[in-house]
């Protein structure tokens, strides 16, 4: 037994030596270190890598101009593997071992929430990337989230869809709701259900489908067709969104307005897969190459992104997440410049009290750190004639219908007419 214990101790010693050998050497002085965890593998890996590229473009842009307050920016990040359980350890490492100056979040609600209490304990500014109401329980005043869902994200998400429906004549009367049985989709449809009540549409179908695990959507959509709804609001994830669009065409499902909360239709690969089948669908969107959405810097950013993305096999157009990944660090950088300080409280106060001009437009944060007003676009896909990538980088294909301020075209109604 004595020998075994000696060997175990030897093993420990070796491990310790390895860990010390891997610890990064003292970093060059006077860098501003921004630390974060990012999903670089696992289900959110592909999107996380695109977000990282956007952040690297921001870093290079800032460093080309001399850095922040004369200090070069360095990104320090670790892969959280899309696992929330990895996040607390990573942020503790960033703060206690790497001694980063700022922390920002990884991608997605599940990976933001585990880091939020750590930011709270240290009183640090915490920029969030695509969290849905992540701060609801913590109510941390230095948390700011870049996805434009709005102050009541769950309800605001679908409000545009219902606004559009309510304006049509004759006014639609009934609605079918379908959602994947998982976090985001259920939230989106819960909000839609509340909006349906508010706008006075009668729910004639309201079901969830197992997620993951559903591949054939025809039986589900046949049931929807039998209910004959005027509106069809769907909360789905990428795989399901493709299946639902294809099945709807197969069985000839033609509600008057179709779409809503389908994730994935914004991804270039899925757009190229579905091509003409997308025509007529009205769905939430965050950015499209429309004339009303040419925010300062967005085109220069996308040019850099689109040059690099194919090399890394990322979403080639990058309209969905990357501009926001650029913007959330952009807000932090602007706040540091404006306050001429690295003081967390001052920077937090600045972000809270000002409007920020970013590549995704003007951003003003409200309560809970969400956008003060919702800016989730409702977009209708129109006039798509092929499956080529170039088709989706043109103006007039993803027409913004809501909010009014950013409107770039008119709704083709009913859906069958736009198909």
């Amino acid at each position: 037994m004595g020998r075994i214990i000696r060997h175990v101790i030897l093993g420990f010693a070796l491990l310790l030596a390895v860990s010390i050998a891997f610890t990064p050497a003292a970093q060059a002085a006077k860098e501003v270190k921004i630390g974060f965890s990012m999903a670089l593998t696992g289900p959110l890996g592909p999107a996380g890598k695109a977000a990282l590229l956007a952040m690297e473009i921001w870093r290079d842009d800032v460093n080309a101009k001399g850095g922040l307050l004369g200090r070069k920016v360095k990104l320090v990040y670790y892969d959280d593997q899309t696992k929330p359980a990895n996040v607390p350890g990573i942020y503790a490492k960033l703060l206690d071992v790497d001694k980063v100056d700022f922390i920002v979040s990884g991608y997605g609600t599940n990976l933001i929430v585990p880091a939020l209490p750590i930011a709270m304990e240290r009183g640090m500014v915490f920029m969030g990337l695509f969290g849905l109401d992540a701060n609801a329980k913590f109510k941390y005043n230095n948390y700011f989230q870049i996805m434009p869902a709005g102050p009541d994200p769950i309800v605001d998400w679908s409000v545009g869809f219902f606004e559009l429906a309510a304006k049509q004549k004759p006014r639609p009367k009934t609605i079918a709701l379908l959602s994947a049985d998982s976090e985001f989709a259920r939230n989106a449809v819960n909000g839609a259900r509340r909006n349906a009540k508010k706008y006075g549409f009668k729910v004639v179908y309201d079901q969830r489908y197992p997620f993951p695990g559903t591949s054939d959507f025809t039986p589900i959509l046949r049931a929807v067709k039998a209910a004959n709804p005027d509106l069809f609001y769907v909360g789905s994830y990428p795989g399901g969104s493709v299946g639902i669009v294809k099945a709807a065409h197969e069985i000839g499902l033609e509600p008057k307005l179709f779409g809503g909360g389908m994730v994935g239709l914004q991804y270039t690969a899925i757009q190229m897969n579905l091509g003409k089948l997308l025509n007529g669908i009205t769905n939430y969107w965050f950015w499209a190459p429309e004339k009303t959405l040419k925010f300062p810097g967005i085109e220069a950013f996308l040019a850099k992104y689109q040059k690099e993305a194919p090399k890394q096999k990322l979403d080639p157009l990058g309209y969905y997440l990357p501009p926001f990944a650029y913007a959330y660090v952009q807000v932090l950088g602007q706040a540091i410049e404006a306050t001429k300080s690295f003081d967390q409280a001052k920077i937090g106060a600045y972000i809270r009290n000002n409007t920020h001009s970013t590549v995704v437009g003007n951003v003003k944060f409200g309560k809970n750190g969400e956008w003060a007003t919702s800016r989730t676009f409702q977009v209708q896909l129109q006039d798509i004639t092929s499956n080529k990538m170039s088709e989706f980088s043109k103006e007039g294909k993803m027409v913004v219908l809501y909010p009014e301020e950013f409107k770039s075209g008119n709704l083709i109604y009913p859906y069958a007419k736009g198909k």
């Binding site: 593997q81 350890g89 976090e183």
Partner: protein, 319 residues
């Protein structure tokens, strides 16, 4: 009390006190969080080994027992926010009862059929939790950990201490079982169940005991999880990692003794923690995968077995 038992209990007590003393001297929270994960795997691997190593019934459902403990705690936190020890006891009880029930239903199945049944248990429970809105359902829920705790400067240190104590206690339980008639009965079941039954070993009782103790320890390991991660949702609580790691660690360390899972969990768990922040995460999985394949092929008795063989060879030479 014999001498060996005395020494073991003294070492256990020293380790618990030592881990408390560490919290009074070390500030760096990263090490607490990393150590928490490693210690959590010590508990899980030891728990797995009581059923899988001692008795020979391979359980693929570690995540089910772990998550059951975690979700029992979440349900309690949502109801009346009891102190942590209540969560640990209740998590252990619920998962222990689950182990007993599952054992009763499935222990007539042998080998791969038992393993498949445990895997199915994890899938079924995940579906149930995903649809249980009170604990957050599929969307998950944020859990606020207490702001402060007496005697510790922050909650991370407290959680580290609790998990260190649990690791020591679970290894002690495994040691006590191994050294008692129960352990010998379990080994007899592992080697030849029919022969053991013919010799008068109460096999059903022992198997039920193993599933219950193993399940309870896994549940206890899961109980503080929601405080550690602050946000709990079914995909991460029922992650296949728990099943794979809690199986791989005893396999790598050695399944027939209490020391095997301890060595395996510390080595593999530490390597994973280091890999997460130094190498890419693909390396993380590669480490476990290649170690598992390597050990199954070249050292089926794990590190402890390998050292035993080496020692025997040297002893032979010396003689």
């Amino acid at each position: 009390m014999n001498k060996e038992r005395k020494i073991f209990l003294i070492v256990a007590a020293v380790l618990i006190v030592g881990s408390f003393l560490i919290t009074t001297h070390m500030e760096n929270r990263f090490y607490y969080k990393a150590a928490y994960v490693v210690l959590q795997y010590v508990v899980l691997a030891t728990a797995w080994n009581i059923l899988g190593g001692y008795t020979g019934y391979v359980n693929f459902g570690t995540a089910a027992f772990f998550a059951m403990g975690a979700y029992t705690a979440v349900a309690l936190i949502k109801t009346w926010k009891p102190p942590l020890y209540v969560l640990l006891v209740t998590g252990g009880l619920v998962s222990g009862l689950l182990g007993l029930g599952i054992g009763y239903l499935t222990l007539r199945l042998r080998g791969v059929f038992f393993s498949i049944a445990t895997l199915a248990l994890a899938v079924v429970l995940q579906m149930i939790v995903s649809n249980w809105d009170y604990v957050g359902g599929g969307a998950g829920t944020a859990v606020l950990k207490p702001r402060s705790v007496p005697m510790f400067s922050n909650y991370d240190e407290f959680l580290f201490f609790v998990m260190a104590a649990l690791a020591v206690v679970s290894v002690a339980i495994a040691w006590l079982i191994e050294k008692s008639w129960i352990g010998r009965g379990m080994a007899a079941i592992r080697d030849n169940e029919e022969a053991a039954e013919c010799m008068g070993v109460p096999i059903l009782k022992l198997k039920l005991f193993a599933t219950t103790v193993s399940g309870a320890l896994m549940g206890i390991a899961g109980a503080p999880f929601s405080y550690f991660v602050v946000y709990i949702e079914p995909t991460s609580a029922f992650h296949l990692d728990y099943a794979v790691n809690s199986l791989a660690m005893p396999m790598i360390g050695g399944t027939t003794t209490w020391l095997g899972p301890l060595v395996g969990a510390v080595l593999v768990g530490t390597a994973q923690q280091i890999a997460t922040v130094t190498l890419s995460s693909e390396m993380n999985l590669l480490i476990v995968g290649s170690l598992l394949v390597g050990f199954v092929v070249f050292a089926p008795d794990g590190l402890v077995g390998l050292f035993g063989k080496v020692r025997a060879r040297f002893a032979g030479k010396e003689a």
